[in-house]
Symmetry: C2
Subunit: 222 residues, 2 copies
């Protein structure tokens, strides 16, 4: 009895994700699904990214959290449109939640939509939200074994951001090992090593977004 | 159709968990369920704990991971009995998995069983494994907002280990704020601040285990 029900949850999620993707693609809106462990630096990355790009593009953010609207407040402080989803304990976002949020966003003028998923390296990876691509964050404090131990995210992500590189002198993290392990089943993975604290490595990430948005406009593969 | 099935998953997990708990309690085996984000330091904590306590107690470890037996190998190197569970992508352990592992362990001589759950701050919290208590780890690199954003673990845990305190000089982490927030709905929570790298604060944790094991033998509340 359990297997058919689990399948139907995924199937109905996929169907709604396709609707979301089609709606956003019609409007050339580049849509990014940010996924990482709790505390890998998704919201801090967003604060920096919005500060850099908000005068260049119309950007909106959907914030996923179990509880609180702390992150949405941090994003709202940058002056960018933000919608908060509280999953009330739920471990991931689903496409139906994104579909609901789209009603609150000014889609006609939007260039980029960033979805910050619930902090979880496992469940969010299995739920397509209708995004163009998943972007994974891995902080150097989590250990270089994580791509091997949690492989699905690193296989499906288009970009891997290795975050908190300012802490490298104080932790045992072999960047080459982590990156090789992430690329093993995903040879086209783009990797940027960044530190928001020291404002290092972010230019490559900003340029990746610029190129991806241009590709979206031209109907090219991202 | 979905709600009854989800309920039945939890109900059957609870029933098996009670069987596991009853079996372990008959033998006075103190059972600890370690839960944290990926990379908060569960395996490193275990390596230190086993080195300290393995001559004093008979200890066994159940290692939960999505993939790989890397952690089990690290534990086996300490000379302690270990069983690996690979969830093949699953986001948490369930009591049925623990029940199966018990067949491989020498229960009659065992004093302490430690279960290292899958690295995930959300899903493992909802599945009782038949343990005496959950122990939460929160590394200072994850941010002091995590008890507020992921409240259930911090409400249900008996002990909170604030890990990687050696990194405090390099990150913005307000220890008092995190601890106050964790204690808000769990006033009896025991908190230890530890650094395995610097071998600091661990004595309190070791002594907590010694007392908990004694309480278990005497049939007292842990």
């Amino acid at each position: 009895m359990e297997i058919p029900v689990i399948r139907s949850v995924f199937e109905s999620n996929e169907k709604r994700a396709e609707k979301v993707r089609s709606l956003l693609t019609q409007r050339n809106i580049l849509t990014i699904n940010l996924i990482s462990s709790p505390g890998a630096g998704k919201t801090t990355l967003l604060e920096h990214t919005l500060a850099e790009l908000k005068d260049e593009f119309h950007i909106a953010v959907i914030e996923g959290d179990l509880q609180t609207d702390n992150d949405a407040k941090r994003i709202a402080a940058t002056g960018v449109q933000v919608v908060q989803i509280n999953t009330e304990g739920g471990c991931h976002l689903e496409s139906s939640m994104i579909q609901q949020c789209l009603d609150s966003l000014s889609l006609d003028t939007l260039d980029i939509l960033v979805i910050e998923n619930v902090g979880n390296l496992v469940c969010p990876v299995e739920f397509d939200l209708g995004e163009d691509c998943k972007v994974a964050l891995l902080s150097v404090t989590e250990g270089d074994d994580k791509p091997e131990k949690y492989p699905l995210l690193f296989q499906l992500a288009r970009v891997l951001l290795v975050t908190k590189t300012d802490l490298l002198p104080y932790v045992a993290f072999d960047t080459a090992k982590a990156e090789m392990s992430a690329r093993r089943n995903n040879p086209d993975l783009t990797i940027c090593e960044i530190s928001c604290t020291k404002n290092e490595g972010l230019a490559d990430w900003y340029n990746w977004i610029r190129k991806a948005r241009q590709a979206k406009k031209e109907g090219l593969r991202i």
